[in-house]
Assembly symmetry: C2
């Protein structure tokens, strides 16, 4: 390897590891020359080499910069799920992805775990410790059936950022967003009913649909615009659909945020067919653009939207602090909540409420939004370079999850099974389908960008995919 | 009031407040005379007066003692619920009893909240604080779908006291016992099925039956022997019952513990009809007799018993730490748990596991068992004296809940409604019935014995009941 190639390789690694991120100015030629004890020419050659490879760009009179993504990657195609209501399957694949028995010992490249290493989370643990130490026995009691007033007040306050006027009395604290979705589904439908969803769709919601004896109607969904309101309308005309379950903001797994127009159109459609909307907003506060996008709930004038969310993605999943504003379905949701878990854990509610009140939540969000956006670009760049040509990649507007669509010949379920000896797991696309579609897709978590563990898993994965990739025609 | 009457009144209050409990030796005549500056004769008259009233007893050459309960009170009659499967109702009454909106501002005489003021709970909070302060991020992650291994190991270890050989891998941590019961019910039955229960029956279980579209078959139950195995057999022959849900040890609300023979007979019956048993053991570790009674699960050879429990009654309900050993229904229960809440709160699991490992749980139990047994006697004595003749009272073998059966003319639902201006609430018997039975009954919590708040609530209640009591024939 020539000297300039060595230097270029070092710079490339720094970029991939996130030391320099999209748009960052790179060290000057003179500085690099001094630092690495190489000639000016060698540094110039190294930069030109990286420029050819698309890593950096030169700006006249300013130097070299990490290339900013000028455009979206080639997005996944609009999904084409089955055109009839289906029973949900795929539970076995989910158990496998969750690493079932020992999640902490296996690195899950596809699991939707946020980055918990940020120093902005420390004050939350401190508050938690303080409250336990203070020995206030309220933290050991059942809270009210709806959750502590302290936390409900804070959640209502935060909701104004999404254009919502929520009242603390309307909120019910749940054991994560999963319980919110579960209670919502049970409130608006009964066994045999059909629920429409965006597709691919969060597997937890789909399994809740399955467990409640419901059928799912998957609607074609675009990786930039979201669920097709037009296709949904056709489905509503054709099938006795009781509710629509969607994640319209920072979607999981596709990453899009629907425009206000499309959200409003979806709401109006629900009004016209007089059905409920279950809106999963769990990633909404992680939108890169601020102020964050409005929720569908913010357009709701007749209480047909059940807004579900939690702190699992913004703060930490182990808190199990979710909530629901059930709109007009309040009575049923309270009953569902009571029979499922009676109440949610009390102490974390006091700690989180105090953390929000002190401004810790917003500080943490600011940092995570920036980190996740940077890491999205790093990850998309890396995948474009190392995954086969023709790979399609989503371009999330928030959160930390990427959807990757490979050539039709690549079977991610098989890939996943072959990983059983490796120290990491992937989330094959089938988890997000009612009927085994999206086998050539996978979800990737980019919270930590291209840190060592992620990079080594991705490298193994890229090799495995390359081996299976058919020769270009 | 004469001098000796005044002294007797003071002694009576000391007994009722628990300063002296059943079997305690009372101060000598000489000591009291000195302390109160009254003559020996006055003290003798006071003690004789209390003896006449049944508060104290003299033992030759030993002095005066707080009277020990020589026998059970007059127990409630065997329940006679409807003889056919029913739909569960009574949700409105439960919401009212829970004080719905602001539980902490109203004293609930009937709510099943343990005493959280014991110093033996402090180390748990300390461990909790330590773990949060240590900043180990594992406490913020999702735990495994089944809960942390640390806690499952400790629960399996404790189970040997109930005659059970549980394996940590067989346990699933749940959000309180309510989620365990909910998941168990969903695993063994489907909409339209019939579930047999002891009657009166814990309202949370009955509401879970209702929410899952099941019907309930209430079985006559004796306040000392438990559910009638004979009546259950008749019901099994007559109706298509899918499962039996029982609380056979330290029953809620009746307080009995079924004998081993009856537990075994119940298990054999379930085998004969090939149905599942959902065993709620939530109060089992609070049995006054030690070693504690065996669970039905301990007789289980073919995995048909789903053992459900939690730390809500032994430690604190706000932890929301429950568990289930689902026996042969493992796969269904894991799926039910995943769709309902995905996982349970992580940090409390580490703290509780450590608390048990350090011996804190057993120390706490020892103290609470003694306290609750003392308070049972105090409360039963008080009720026998202040509630109308003919009142029937349960005689719990563990836990802290009493079942009181008043004259048929007393309507506790009405009583309950009239309490809306008072600072306390009662739990009318109808909550424990599928169809509005037990209106003349109520459940009373005796955790704190006859402390000021309890005594003042009971006094108001006794007056209200006396006003309504029909004249003896």
């Amino acid at each position: 390897m020539k000297l300039y190639e060595e230097l270029a390789e070092q710079l490339r690694q720094s970029i991939e590891q996130g030391l320099f991120v999209s748009g960052d100015r790179l060290p000057s030629i003179r500085a690099l020359s001094r630092e690495h004890r190489v000639s000016i020419t060698t540094v110039q050659e190294a930069y030109r080499y990286l420029e050819d490879q698309g890593f950096v760009e030169s700006r006249p009179k300013s130097g070299y910069f990490v290339r900013t993504r000028a455009c979206m990657p080639t997005l996944p195609e609009v999904s084409r799920p089955a055109r009839r209501p289906l029973d949900v399957s795929q539970w076995e694949d989910i158990l496998n992805m969750l690493g079932a028995e020992n999640p902490s010992r296996v690195f899950s490249l596809g699991h939707a775990m946020p980055d918990l290493s940020s120093p902005t989370l420390k004050p939350l643990l401190r508050l938690w410790a303080d409250q336990a130490r203070r020995g206030d026995m309220r933290v050991l009691e059942y809270d009210s059936l709806r959750g502590t007033e302290e936390l409900r007040v804070q959640i209502a306050r935060l909701a104004s950022a999404s254009g919502c006027q929520l009242h603390p009395d309307d909120l019910i604290i749940t054991t994560g967003c999963q319980e919110a979705l579960f209670c919502a589904l049970r409130a608006v439908s009964g066994p045999g009913d059909v629920v429409a969803v965006d597709s691919p769709c969060f597997y937890g919601a789909m399994q809740a649909i399955k467990a409640n004896g419901l059928k799912v109607m998957e609607i074609p969904t675009h990786a930039e615009y979201g669920i097709s309101v037009e296709a949904l309308e056709l489905a509503l005309e054709q099938w006795p659909i009781k509710a629509i379950l969607v994640t319209p903001t920072c979607n999981n797994p596709l990453g899009y945020s629907m425009s206000e127009e499309r959200k409003r159109a979806l709401y109006q459609l629900a009004q016209r067919f007089d059905i409920a909307i279950i809106e999963d907003d769990i990633y909404g506060d992680l939108a890169y653009a601020w102020p964050r996008p409005r929720t569908i709930k913010s357009f709701d004038t007749d209480g047909r939207v059940l807004l579900c969310s939690s702190f699992s993605k913004t703060l930490a999943p182990g808190l199990r602090e979710g909530w629901i504003d059930p709109g007009r379905y309040r009575e049923q949701v309270i009953h569902n909540k009571f029979v499922a878990t009676a109440a949610s854990s009390t102490l974390p509610q006091f700690a989180v409420a105090e953390f929000i009140a002190q401004g810790g939540y917003e500080r943490h969000l600011r940092r995570m939004r920036a980190q996740y956006q940077r890491n999205r670009d790093l990850m998309v760049d890396w995948l474009e370079r190392h995954f086969p040509a023709g790979t399609r990649i989503s371009y999330p507007q928030g959160g930390y999850l990427l959807w990757v669509e490979l050539s039709q010949d690549i079977d991610c379920v098989e890939l996943s099974r072959e990983l059983s000896d490796e120290q990491f797991r992937i989330a094959p696309g089938v988890l997000f389908s009612a009927s085994g579609k999206y086998r050539n897709c996978m979800r990737i978590n980019f919270t930590r960008g291209l840190d060592e563990r992620t990079l080594s898993a991705l490298t193994v994965l890229a090799e495995m995919i390359a081996e299976r990739q058919p020769a270009p025609v």
